[in-house]
Amino acid sequence: MGQHQFEISYVFEYFVKLLPSLKITLLIVFSSIVIGVVVGLLVALPRLYRIPILQRLAGIYVSFFRGTPILIQLFLFYYGMPELFKVIGIDISRIPALYFVILAYALHSGAYISEMIRGAVAAVDRGQVEAAYAMGMSGFQAFSRIVLPQATAISIPVFANLVIGNLKDTSLAFSLGIMEMSGTARTIGALSQRFVEIYLALAILYLLISLALQKLFIHFERRLYRHEADAIASKREPRRGRRSFFRKLGPVTELPGKEARL
């Protein structure tokens, strides 16, 4: 507890003060997820198509980024990369910390995204690929027209989890001095000594973004699943009461119809 009596009005005040740093948080989330999707796809493909050496390298990459804490990855990138580049005579110590942070989060998400893609592609029924080949499609056509759209739909719930997880993970970026939401909150807290108010405001802010993201993903999921009869039915008569309450809280939406998930 701080030295002050709790006052709710400060929660609102700090909430507004935190808003400008929302930009930085969203910038980290958005750019790291975009890069992460590209990296994830590049890493998943050698494993899906069993390309000898690349497959092993991809496996090592995934193990490392899934097996070590993000905080340590942040430090390793921030302190380690300049050392590494010094060896080959390039000075990158003046590049702002934000770029290291984005890179670390991107590679971290990329590892999880590659696993998500692998699972989703494997979940698309093999018979449809055969049907595509039988009608004379090339491997690329079959992948892009038949497998990819369905794999995307399958992976939405997992992807939603990843993005929301990534959002919360960005709260660690303050350890490298990034003034995103948590960093700003820490500073305000240190100055005002009103820790409860500032962290309450911070929690509310994270929660609101998470809820907005969930809504967005549920919307995507419904759109992409319009071809499954059950999903269409559940759109017509949305569940009310207890179940829809849990639906909002749960990170993963109930996936009607298809059971295939990671």
Binding site: G127, Q128, A131, S138, Q141, H227, G257
Partner: protein, 250 residues
């Protein structure tokens, strides 16, 4: 028209096809019968290279593929000659009935979209699904899905349609609607090869029946010859299970 020469296929040490020779003339409807595990589905899947034969030669419509070392483009060329109707329908689940039928026309044959749409609607009407154009597979019964599958195969205007047990995963009351569609297109002179367990249907529709067991063609002939007076002991044994009272003795 279609000629298979010494098709052999092994899964590991188990030889499934032991050198199959088969010729099918244009417009012929050929039924392939045989007990489960006899290799009849594998043979059908070799014809469009969904299954890779270990040895042999496949000719469809004057295009010959040697199975030793075929190039990707050769396989592609071969596949364009045929179309397949699957036991599990294998419709594209994220596409409507109409889109399923249009897909091959637009993507593989590069037919302009409007033209492909007109042709696809025509075909779906022909299989009795004119009212289900915009339904997704999940909204259709098994029989309806299989009829979309047949329309999808017809759309490609193939030299031959390969049917892989087209009614085996259907509820009994839905078998009839699919068989009557196949019967209808058989009359139009399209070349068809049908792997089936429907003996009565094979007898009625096929001009030619082949009995496969243990990876070899045991006997072949017209339905009357094969069902009426089978020569080989194995054929007799097999048919006995389906004709306990000699229903088929004509």
């Amino acid at each position: 028209m279609i000629k298979l020469t010494q098709i052999k296929k092994s899964f590991g040490r188990h030889q499934v096809l032991k050198g199959i020779d088969l010729t099918v003339e244009k417009g012929q409807v050929v039924a392939i019968l045989g007990p489960s595990g006899s290799g009849k589905t594998t043979l059908l899947r070799c014809m469009n290279y969904l299954e890779r034969p270990s040895e042999g030669e496949i000719t469809i419509d004057e295009f010959t593929l040697n199975c030793r070392r075929p190039s990707k483009s050769d396989i592609h060329e071969l596949r364009k000659k045929s179309a397949m109707v699957f036991q599990q329908y294998n419709l594209f689940r994220h596409k409507t009935a109409l889109e399923n039928v249009m897909e091959g026309l637009v993507i593989v044959q590069k037919v302009p979209k409007e033209q492909a749409r007109v042709r696809s609607i025509e075909l779906l009407e022909k299989v009795g699904l004119g009212s289900k154009l915009d339904s997704y597979p999940s909204q259709l019964s098994g029989g309806q899905q299989q009829r979309v599958g047949i329309a999808r195969a017809l759309a490609l205007n193939p030299k031959v349609i390969l049917f892989d047990e087209p009614t085996s995963s259907l509820d009994p009351e839905l078998v009839g609607e699919v068989l009557s569609v196949i019967r209808k297109i058989a009359k139009e002179g399209i070349t068809m090869i049908i792997v089936t367990h429907e003996m009565g249907f094979a007898q009625e529709v096929a001009g030619h029946v082949i009995f496969i067991d243990d990876g070899v063609i045991v006997e072949r002939g017209t339905p009357n010859e094969l069902f009426g007076s089978p020569k080989e002991e194995r054929t007799k044994q097999f048919l006995k299970r389906f004709t306990p009272d000699g229903v088929y003795s004509i």
